[in-house]
Structure formats: C-alpha cells, structure tokens
Amino acid sequence: MFILTRLSDLVTIQPTSFTVPTRQALEDEINTRYANKVIHKVGLAICLYDILKSSDGLIGSGTGNVNINVEFRLIVFRPFKGEVITGRIANSTPHGIHVRLDFFDEIFLPKDYLFEGSVFDHNEQVWVWRTEDGDELFFDKNEMVRFRVEEEEFTDNTPVDPALRDSLADADMKPPYKLIGSCYQSGLGVVAWW
C-alpha cells in the first residue's frame, strides 16, 4: 500500500527561517511542498521519510534565499495492482460504489466489478448481493469493505493554455489520482460477512 520514493529537488529556504536549524528547515520545506499531494505517475505523497544528501546552500543574486539541492525519500501511497485494501463505503450510485480511506477518497468499485447477482436497491440507495443460497447481503454506507485494486488512473492537471481551456473544461474536473477496485471473490466485500 505504501512505498518509498527517492526524489531530488532544489529547496529554497527564506531568510525568515534562518533561525531554525537547517535540517529542520529542509524537512518543513519538503513537507510543505509534498505532503498530501499527488505526484504524477508516482502516487499520493504522505510525508518525508528521510533526507539522504544535501548540497551546500547557495545564495542567489537578487534575493536572500538559500538554495539547496536535496536528495530525499518520501512515503507514498501507491497500492499495487491486485493488492487487497479495506476502506469505508462513502456512498452508492447505480453505477457502483464509492469507497474512501480516511486520507484518500478517490476509489470506485464499478458495478461490473461487484459480485455476480448484485443489484442496486433504488429505495435504500444501496447495493445488495443476492447470493446463490438466496441470502441478501447489503453494502451499507460506512460499512468496512475489502476490495482488490484493479486499475489506477493518473490525470495530469497542469494548467493549460487559457485559449484551449474551454474545450477542456470537463477534463479539468478529474481527480489527479484515482483507483478502480473490484469485489467479486469470496473473502472480499463487507468485512463482517466473512
């Protein structure tokens, strides 16, 4: 579920932070830049893990900022395909079930990836799995659910040329990182069932 990613970056420390020990200033700056943000094709960065190397600080002309080249590792949320994760059901629609983890909301279980015999109950707004034995099992809201990661989707949301923006208005709404999960094997589904 979590991985370590090694990055290098140029970190700028402003004069207001000069009273802080350099190491701490670097850690704060890196966390400000990366914590809780999606890095394209890498995953959701959680926080700094450790600093591996840093260069001497150089003051650029014109500003009093110190620039330091740093090599460091981040903890990143990036489940592999086929990994089994537990989460909570956020809501259900006729298209499928939205699942969230406390720190990550963009998980979707499409209806085609649910158990065979699952139907959507429009009155209750929940998915119901009718088993072969005739039992009815409910995917209730806020229930803990276990699912398998099937696909991941990264969307590059870097700003586009304003002249082109109108035609891309819909695409802008896409989350930068999204997971598609499945729930059709015994053992998956609501945790309390098994």
Binding site: L4, I46, Y49, G187
Partner: protein, 140 residues
C-alpha cells in the same frame, strides 16, 4: 523536482504508522524545548498525518510490535511455501484470521498449499497477532 527511483522499497502499514508517530513525538519534543513557535508545522502535513493515523488505527497495524513483525516475516520466509514478497506484505498488513481471508491474499491458494499447510500459515499469523509472550506454534 526529479524522480530518481519511483519505488525504492515497499513499506508495511506498521512501518508507516511507526514513522508518523515518531515524527509526531519529535514535534512534541520541539515544542517542549523551543516553545510553541516550533509547533507551526505545515497544515497539509498535520492533516495527512492525522488521517493516516485514523485509518491505520482501524487496521492490524496498531497491535503490532517490531519484534512480532520481524518474527512473522522470518517465519513466513522460512516456510517452504515460497510466498512472494507482496504476499508476505499483505499477510502482514491484514493478519488473516481464516481460510477465506487468506485465500483473497494468496493467488491460487488451494492448488499451492495443502490443508495442513494453510492451517500452519494461519497459526503462524495467529501467534504473531497476539504478542503475549511465549506461545507455541504447532507444526503441521
């Protein structure tokens, strides 16, 4: 920004939880030593650390200890069952309690393992999830 190595290592839920609790402790110490001004941490960091702790405290990671975790990994690696690294990782994160839960994590469980082997793996995991001192692992 340059990505040097997208996936250098995989971390178990327990390791992530331990790291974040360590960072939190370090910040608390800073406040004690340097006064409340040192507590000004980036907001996005505070948010994600709280959410990660909230999430991981609903998983098996809260009850794990470094010793029990190491022992479980060694026991599973020692067994002649040839688990993949990611399978060991998932077993560590989920601590499956019965055969159905194990079946989800291990591909083609029934053709790879006999019933006795499945029971053995489950008992290894069971003994690791209850770190109450010395407990016997029944072989076979």
């Amino acid at each position: 920004m340059k990505v040097l190595e997208p996936c250098e290592a995989m971390l178990s839920n327990y390791e992530v939880l331990a790291h974040i609790q360590e960072v939190k402790q370090k910040y608390r110490d800073q406040v004690a030593n340097q006064g409340p001004a040192a507590a000004m941490k980036p907001g996005n960091l505070e948010t994600v650390m709280k959410e990660i702790i909230d999430y991981l405290s609903t998983t098996a990671a809260t009850s794990q200890t470094p010793e029990a975790t190491m022992k479980l990994v060694e026991d599973l690696a020692k067994s002649p069952l040839q688990f993949e690294k990611i399978e060991v990782l998932m077993m560590l994160n989920h601590l499956p309690k019965n055969e159905t839960e194990l079946d989800v994590l291990i591909e083609e469980l029934e053709s790879r393992l006999s019933e006795e082997q499945i029971a053995e793996v489950l008992s290894i995991i069971q003994s690791a999830s209850q770190p109450t001192g010395d407990c016997d692992i029944s072989e076979g």
